[in-house]
């Protein structure tokens, strides 16, 4: 795999369209999934995906093989998505959420939700909390890492996460109500 990647990257650096397409095919679907989570809608996700691939090919010579290509590509797309939304990011007031985790309300509804519905929920989150939720819950970043990447305080990161949790719980409750009617 390592040699294959090395060869593929070398061909991309030689500006071979076939090699670039091979890279695109390999990552497009997965990265589009990432973009969809970070963006509010499909059109924006397409835009970010496109920017991400341009950035990927422009910076390919910087890949030093000290990690996996998949991890490096994922970081590029997350950074692209964050940068794309950075100007629009608004971090609302800290939401105190002490006992929310105890509230398991909506778990039944949750088990019945499809990935598409979950994606819609994420996309409906406010910009700031959506980014923090994605980074913390799905990408496994720590609050201090999120704070450093987004240029916010750890407290803001935590509050955004809490806000995301609260919003999602509310959405789940609403979904459950609709289904019970």
């Amino acid at each position: 795999m390592f040699d294959e990647d090395k060869d593929l990257i070398a061909r991309c650096l030689n500006r071979e369209v076939a090699a670039e397409y091979q890279i695109y095919r390999r990552f497009a679907a997965k990265m589009f999934g990432v973009c969809l989570r970070y963006c509010g809608n499909d059109a924006e996700a397409e835009e970010v995906l496109q920017s991400g691939f341009i950035r990927l090919f422009a910076n390919l010579q910087q890949f030093r093989f000290d990690g996996t290509l998949d991890g490096w590509v994922l970081r590029i797309f997350i950074t692209t998505a964050i940068n794309h939304r950075r100007d629009n990011l608004r971090y609302s007031q800290v939401v105190e959420l002490s006992d929310e985790l105890e509230d398991s309300g909506g778990n039944d509804a949750l088990s019945r939700l499809s990935v598409k519905e979950l994606l819609t929920m994420i996309q409906q989150l406010p910009e700031g909390s959506r980014t923090v939720f994605n980074m913390y819950v799905i990408e496994n970043y720590k609050h201090n890492e999120i704070a450093a990447i987004l240029g916010i305080s750890e407290g803001t990161s935590k509050s955004q996460l809490n806000q995301a949790r609260a919003t999602i719980r509310q959405m789940l409750k609403n979904t459950e109500k609709k289904r019970s009617l």
């Binding site: 500006r15 369209v17 670039e20 397409y21 695109y24 497009a28 679907a29 997965k30 589009f32 999934g33 969809l36 989570r37 397409e46 995906l49 496109q50 691939f53 341009i54 090919f57 985790l101 398991s104 909506g106 778990n107 949750l110 088990s111 939700l113 990935v115 979950l118 994606l119 994420i122 939720f133 913390y136 819950v137 799905i138 609050h143 935590k158 996460l161 949790r165 999602i168 719980r169 789940l172």
Partner: protein, 196 residues
Amino acid sequence: MEQKDPIEDKFKSAFSGFEQEPPERVWNNVRAQLHPVPVPLSFWGRMMKFSGLLHLHPALFFTISGTAFVSLLTVVYVFAFGHQSIRGHAYAGLSRMSSGNVELFVVADKAMPWDSVTHYRSALIDHFGHFQFARVSQGRYLLRIAPEENSETAKTYAPCWYKGHERSDSADVVLVERKDVVVDVKLMKNGETVKR
């Protein structure tokens, strides 16, 4: 230490391998940005690009190129349209000459009388009696025609000036202006009286 709740676990597991195929247009756009197809430039676009290659300001470039173009047109006009030809046939009696020479002299109006006629060019008369001086500048000229030495024609006819004059000071002037000039020249018989 942050706790993970069931909701987060659900999201994490749902999106851990989440993939969605993007529309084909994304690749088309990426490819178009990576390998842009050069758009054919218009004439003025090419000129602007060329001026950039020469590190010239477009205004300076167009001034220089405009001046050069006008100069070129002037040169072309002078060389192509400022010149005419003198051509015609040479006759010995009623028949055309089959060989001989024609000499062209330019008449300098403002020179002193004794050096006002200077030799300009020579041409051969072909087998059909035809001669031609191409690309002659506008002005006043004299023509002198002579049969080939030791030829049969030379025995009967003597060299003469247009139109049948023995001397240049009495010869008719060929005026070259904006059109080609066609002149027929006839040799004088030996001992023939000078034409008046």
